[in-house]
Symmetry: C2
Subunit: 412 residues, 2 copies
């Protein structure tokens, strides 16, 4: 890879050759891919991008893949960035955009990481990719691998919801339901990966995955014609996504495509916010309970805390925690004002933004992008609990008129 210098441990600084099978540093720290920005500056121009495919692979010069590695088959990335004028006005900001990353093949931002895993597995000559997860990482891996003709072994804890298992089975994954908790599931996956040498799609140890995720901020910048907002709000679970977002922004700054960096807004659930607590108290992070319905960010022991904390601090970021009620209110707000249906974890960034607006931290002079990271169809059960009841009426126009009057609904 002419554009990559090496991989470097974010903890001890040790460097490694960027081979496809890289895992953590021997010190236990996670690795970061270091690019040759001088080389990239010479080979990539804004003009060139205009003719590229509408997928994350339009940014190949900024991605850690060989020039000969093919684009992965599913259309991952280039999700829509909506001007959300009505919502922006409601919140009281100068300008607001919503990046709807639920509009990805398996309906979450995780498709970006899984597509990268598939590309690197192909480079490694692997035929099988494995991971342990019950959520969006698993379904995105299963879908992207199936499309590319790779097989998958996916380990899920026995409590995994049937719907999610069904999605994995439909994509043809070999699904192992482990009788035990998530830790035991992870252990069995590790033993199996060691035994059979499968390619490991695990954001905790695979340094390429956040490089896939960073394409979301590359896109935001390009879709805004390289004029960056003041803030970028996103939900945070294990930290890999916000770290990737920041990496993408720094890449663009380094090659001179953007001239300023937005401040990150890290939104976590009130019931599980180890990363935000570490920032707020300026201390190392410590595990927390996982008390939130936003399952995709219910991560008490974040795997990429180091990269995430660095990203938030470097950006002079803001942290904000929101209750489950605030999360579900944001889901409805995005639905009613933008026609965007996000899963609870997916709308947590917007919930956090709203709270900061109410607190006066962010206001009428500020421009903001809020990323929705997953589709609401992934978790209809919670939407049902919070969305309210429809009008229940007989086939009788008078009854309808009366009910509409009672509710004070506008009929014109």
């Amino acid at each position: 890879m002419k554009n990559v210098i090496h991989a470097k441990c974010v903890k001890c600084g040790k460097t490694y050759e960027a081979t496809p099978n890289l895992t953590n540093c021997e010190c236990g720290g996670i690795l970061d891919i270091v690019y040759d920005y001088d080389y990239i500056k010479k080979s990539l121009t804004k003009e060139k991008l205009k003719t590229r495919p509408n997928t994350m692979w339009r940014y190949r010069e900024l991605l850690p893949v060989e020039e000969t590695t093919p684009d992965t088959p599913l259309r991952v990335g280039w999700s829509p960035l909506y001007e959300a004028d009505r919502l922006g006005e409601l919140l009281g900001v100068k300008k607001l955009w919503i990046k709807d990353d639920g509009q990805n093949p398996t309906a979450s931002l995780k498709d970006r990481a899984s597509a990268m895993a598939v590309a690197k597995a192909k480079e490694a000559g692997a035929k099988i990719i494995a991971c342990s997860s019950t959520g969006n990482a698993a379904s995105s891996l299963a879908g992207n691998a199936a499309a590319a003709g790779l097989r998958t072994f996916i380990f899920v804890p026995e409590r995994a919801p049937k719907g999610k298992v069904a999605q994995l089975m439909t994509f043809g994954a070999n699904v192992i339901s482990v009788q035990g908790n998530y830790e035991e599931t992870f252990e069995l996956s590790k033993k199996a990966i060691d035994k059979w040498g499968w390619y490991n799609r695990n954001a905790a140890i695979n340094p390429y995955l956040s490089e896939g995720k960073k394409t979301v901020s590359l896109e935001i910048a390009e879709q805004l014609d390289w004029k960056m907002p003041d803030y970028l709000a996103i939900s945070v679970g294990d930290g890999c996504t916000i770290a990737g977002v920041w990496k993408g922004l720094k890449d663009l700054y380094a090659i001179g495509f953007i001239d300023r960096l937005p401040r990150l807004i890290s939104a976590q659930a009130e019931g599980c916010h180890p990363i935000n607590r570490a920032i707020a108290e300026n201390k190392p992070w410590e595990p927390m309970e996982e008390n939130t319905l936003a399952d995709s960010i219910a991560v008490g022991v974040p795997r990429n805390a180091d990269k995430a904390l660095m990203a938030i601090r470097e950006s002079n970021g803001i942290v904000v925690n929101v209750t489950d009620e605030e999360i579900m209110a944001a889901q409805k707000l995005l639905g009613t004002t933008c026609g965007v249906f996000g899963e609870p974890a997916g709308v947590t960034g917007t919930a956090g933004l709203r709270k900061l607006c109410e607190q006066g931290v962010i206001g009428k002079n500020d421009t903001v992008v809020s990323v929705v990271t997953g589709n609401g169809l992934k978790d209809v059960a919670n939407a049902i609990k919070f969305c309210g009841e429809p009008m229940k009426l007989p086939n009788d126009l008078d009854a309808l008129v009366a009910e509409i009057d009672r509710r004070g609904l506008k009929t014109e």
Copy 2:
């Protein structure tokens, strides 16, 4: 609209000025929009399309909207067309493409019709759109209208699944759950629309909706660089979609963008196939029971039968009926070979294609596009029933080795 001549009844031939609020002909027949192809030929070129937005609105010259009518806000259309080489080989055809129209904002092809309804409602100066539906028409209307700042009144029968109602409520629709069957629901919606003059999004009487749907075949043609396949397979319910698909193809032929027309494959469920029965027996269509799990095409009384039957006949089309088991097998086949997760009705076209391949009707000299019309996340319950069980194991590598052996799974 300089590109539209008038609207013409498909039954009696009477013509009407193409005003935004058009409904059925006074004879009861459905209207068809007639274009001025000479005008369109002069204003639209293939080259021009290359710089257009990646939405259905790239084809404005072929759409019945005023030049000043703005694009609707959500990113509807320009869904991916995948080369499905592995699936094509399995089925034994020369070349197969899958158009994944579940990759739309509210996850179905119906977004194309609802975006058109929103555009026409704006032209009509309406602030409220109404429809009666429990399915994709309702959710796509609610989402597209919310994004455009229009309000909706949506009538659903009381048996409507809670998840679907939740989606509507999240988009801020005024949802009326009618104590009665679908017919009574439709009646109350009609009375309310008459009373308050709301814009009517009902594919049975609004001639613009199939014009929105036709963008799916405009896209297929452009994505194939205007080289048409031998066949185009699609599931058929009320007939509006296949009629739209055919209209789009004829448009392109009329303006010289394509030089041949594919034959349509109309796939219906064995348990509900009034349109296919009419073709097979060469008789007028008659109502049928609705015995299929593919809810979006369980239409015993098709509302657009006339247009659909004409389309199938004109294209020298093929009809094929599939059982629910064949539908669910196609769902898994698309998942495992293409990484595409479609809802049961969405994959029925592929199920039909598979059956025709097995029967030798379609084979190794044929090229085919199969359209997946909706996302599998819309109906996870049926996927759960049919996808099979995962391996259930303790955290024990030996047990995993034994189970993998027993199942004969390849581990490399």
